[in-house]
C-alpha cells in the first residue's frame, strides 16, 4: 500500500444479503485522479460504489482512505472524512429546496472546511437561480448538478460519481463533464466515475478499470482510456 494512494481497496467481496456481487476487487486511486470504472449493466459497478460509500457492508477485504482503514466505518463517518457520494439516479431530497439540499451537504464538511456557496454557484449557476425551488421539480440535468454541488459543498477529497449521464440530454452531459474536470483541477478532488457514456469517459478519465461479473478484469492506461475504440470495445464485450 503506497503512501500516495488516496483510496486503496484490497480483496473486496460484497453484495446484497446472501448474494455476493463483488469478487476480490482490487483498485487504488491517487489524490487528484479521475478514474473510470467501465463495464456492462449488472456487473456490479453500482454495488462497488455503494460499498465504498458505506451503504453496503463488505463481506471481506479492506478499504483504506487517506491511509486510514475505513472498512468498518459507517457511511456518515466516511462522508465526514471526505468521501462525497453522488448516486445513480441523483437521490436529491425532493421536498427540500435546492438551497436546503446544499445545506444538508454541508454536514460532511463539519470541522474540516467552511461551506463555500459562491464557489459551487460559480460552477452551477442554475443552483443559485433555483435556490428556493423544490428539488423534486428540477429537470434530470439540474438534479445531477445539484447532486454534484451537494457533495462538493462538504469539500470532499474523493467523489464517487455513479452514472452522471443517465437520462440526461447530450448538451448537458458535456456541461457536466466540463464542470467535473474543472472541479477536479481547481479543488484537487479525486473522482471515481462509473459510466456507460463513451464521450464522457473519453473526455475526462485519466485511466480506468474494466469490470466484469464483479471482478476487475483489466486496467486501462491513460492512452487506452482516451481511445474511443478501446473504450467502446470494453463497453460492449
Amino acid at each position: 500500500m503506497s503512501e500516495t494512494q488516496l483510496l486503496d481497496v484490497v480483496g473486496l467481496h460484497g453484495g446484497y444479503g446472501s448474494e455476493t456481487v463483488l469478487q476480490d476487487v482490487e483498485l487504488s486511486i491517487a489524490a487528484g485522479e479521475i478514474v473510470a470504472v467501465i463495464g456492462r449493466n449488472g456487473v456490479g459497478k453500482t454495488t462497488l460504489m455503494r460499498t465504498l460509500a458505506g451503504l453496503l457492508r463488505p463481506r471481506a477485504g479492506t478499504i483504506s482512505f487517506g491511509g486510514e482503514d475505513i472498512t468498518s466505518l459507517s457511511a456518515d463517518k466516511r462522508a465526514r472524512r471526505g468521501i462525497g457520494y453522488i448516486p445513480q439516479g441523483r437521490d436529491v431530497f425532493p421536498e427540500l429546496t435546492v438551497r436546503e439540499n446544499l445545506m444538508v451537504g454541508e454536514v460532511a464538511g463539519t470541522g474540516r472546511s467552511r461551506p463555500d456557496y459562491e464557489r459551487i454557484y460559480g460552477y452551477f449557476p442554475i443552483l443559485k437561480e433555483r435556490a428556493r425551488q423544490r428539488a423534486g421539480t428540477l429537470s434530470g440535468g439540474q438534479q445531477q448538478q445539484l447532486a454534484i454541488g451537494r457533495a462538493m459543498i462538504g469539500d470532499p477529497r474523493l467523489m464517487l460519481l455513479d452514472e452522471p449521464s443517465e437520462g440526461i440530454q447530450p448538451s448537458i452531459i458535456k456541461d457536466i463533464a466540463r464542470n467535473v474536470r474543472n472541479l477536479n483541477e481547481q479543488t484537487g478532488v479525486a473522482v471515481l466515475l462509473v459510466e456507460q457514456n463513451l464521450d464522457l469517459i473519453v473526455s475526462i478519465a485519466d485511466r480506468g478499470f474494466v469490470m466484469e461479473k464483479g471482478r476487475i478484469v483489466a486496467t486501462l492506461s491513460s492512452d487506452e482510456i482516451t481511445s474511443r475504440d478501446q473504450v467502446r470495445h470494453h463497453l460492449t464485450i
Binding site: 457511511a75 462522508a79 431530497f93 445545506m103 444538508v104 454536514v107 457533495a151
Partner: protein, 290 residues
C-alpha cells in the same frame, strides 16, 4: 347582541376543541410523521408531563416553568427509551407498536403502585370572565394561544433551522442523508425526544384542568389518534388542518347534541376519511397542489 354572543360561544367551543386537538396530537404527529412509528405510549408521556408539572408547581415553581419541566422530563425519558428500545425496532412497525404498548402498561401500573391512584392536582389559574349570560375560563384562551404558538414554533423549527432541514432530509432519503455525513441515529433520537417532550407539554398545559390519575393519558388518546389519522404524515398540511376541521365538527355536534355526539362526530369523520382519503389530508393536499 344575541347573535354576537352566540357566535362568541361557538368560537369559544371551536377554539377550545382546536387547541385540545393540536396540543394533544403534536407529539404523536411528529413521531409518526417523521419516523413512521405509532407510539402507543403517547398518553403516558402526557401523564408524565402532567405529573411533573403538578409536582413542581406544588413545590413552588411558577406554572409556566413547571410546564416546561414536565415537557423536559418527558423528552429526556423519551430519548432514553428511544436509545434502549425503540431504536432496535425501526424497520419493524408491528413490534414497535407492541413495545410502546408495553411501555404504556408498565408506566400506568408503575405510577399506580408508586404514587397511588390519585395525586393532588393544581387549580386552574386566571379564573373566568363573563360574556353575556355565560362565564368562560380565561385559561382556555391561554390554551388556544398556546396551540397557535406551538404550530408556529414547530414550523420555524422544521423549516427555518439546520436541525429541521436535516431532519426532513433524513425522513425523505435516510440512506442518502447518511451518505452525506448525517448521523441519522442521533436525528431519530432527537426527533423521538421532541415528540415525547411535546406530549409532556400537552400534559403540562392541561394539568391545571384535570384530575391527576395514572390513566389520565387515555383522555387524550382518542383525539390525538383521530387527528393524526385524518391528517396523515405531515404536521403542517395534515394535522393542523385536520384539527381545524375536526374542531368544527366536534364543536357543532357538542353544541347541538351534547358531549357524546361530539365524540361520535369525530369517530364518524375518521371512518369517512379512511374510506375516501386513505393517505389522510396531507397526501391529498400535496397531490392536488402538484
Amino acid at each position: 347582541m344575541e347573535i354576537f354572543l352566540a357566535i362568541f360561544a361557538m368560537f369559544y367551543q371551536f377554539g377550545d376543541a382546536f387547541a385540545f386537538l393540536v396540543i394533544a396530537a403534536a407529539g404523536l404527529a411528529v413521531i409518526f410523521g417523521m419516523m413512521g412509528i405509532i407510539n402507543l405510549a403517547h398518553g403516558e408521556f402526557i401523564m408524565c408531563g402532567a405529573y411533573v408539572t403538578a409536582a413542581t408547581a406544588r413545590a413552588g415553581l411558577p406554572l409556566p416553568l413547571a410546564i416546561l419541566c414536565g415537557a423536559l422530563v418527558a423528552g429526556i425519558i423519551g430519548m432514553a427509551l428511544e436509545r434502549t428500545i425503540i431504536r432496535h425496532l425501526y424497520h419493524r412497525p408491528l413490534e414497535s407498536i407492541i413495545a410502546t404498548w408495553g411501555i404504556s402498561l408498565i408506566a400506568t401500573q408503575g405510577v399506580l403502585i408508586v404514587l397511588g391512584s390519585t395525586m393532588s392536582g393544581i387549580g386552574t389559574p386566571f379564573g373566568s370572565v363573563v360574556v353575556g349570560d355565560r362565564s368562560y375560563s380565561v385559561y382556555r384562551f391561554v390554551l388556544m394561544g398556546a396551540a397557535v404558538a406551538l404550530l408556529v414554533g414547530l414550523y420555524l423549527l422544521f423549516y427555518r433551522t439546520r436541525f429541521g432541514v436535516i431532519a426532513r432530509a433524513t425522513i425523505q432519503r435516510p440512506q442518502m442523508a447518511r451518505a452525506l455525513g448525517v448521523d441519522t441515529r442521533s436525528i431519530y433520537g432527537l426527533t423521538f425526544g421532541l415528540g415525547a417532550a411535546l406530549a409532556g407539554l400537552a400534559g403540562g398545559l392541561y394539568a391545571p384542568t384535570m384530575t391527576m390519575v395514572p390513566t389520565m393519558g387515555s383522555a387524550f388518546i382518542v383525539e390525538s389518534f383521530v387527528t393524526v389519522v385524518v391528517g396523515g404524515a405531515d404536521i403542517f398540511v395534515g394535522a393542523a388542518p385536520a384539527a381545524a376541521i375536526l374542531a368544527v365538527i366536534k364543536a357543532a355536534m357538542t353544541a347541538w347534541y351534547g358531549q357524546l355526539f361530539g365524540q361520535i362526530g369525530l369517530l364518524v369523520t375518521v371512518i369517512l376519511v379512511i374510506r375516501i382519503l386513505p393517505g389522510g389530508l396531507s397526501t391529498w393536499i400535496k397531490h392536488s397542489s402538484k
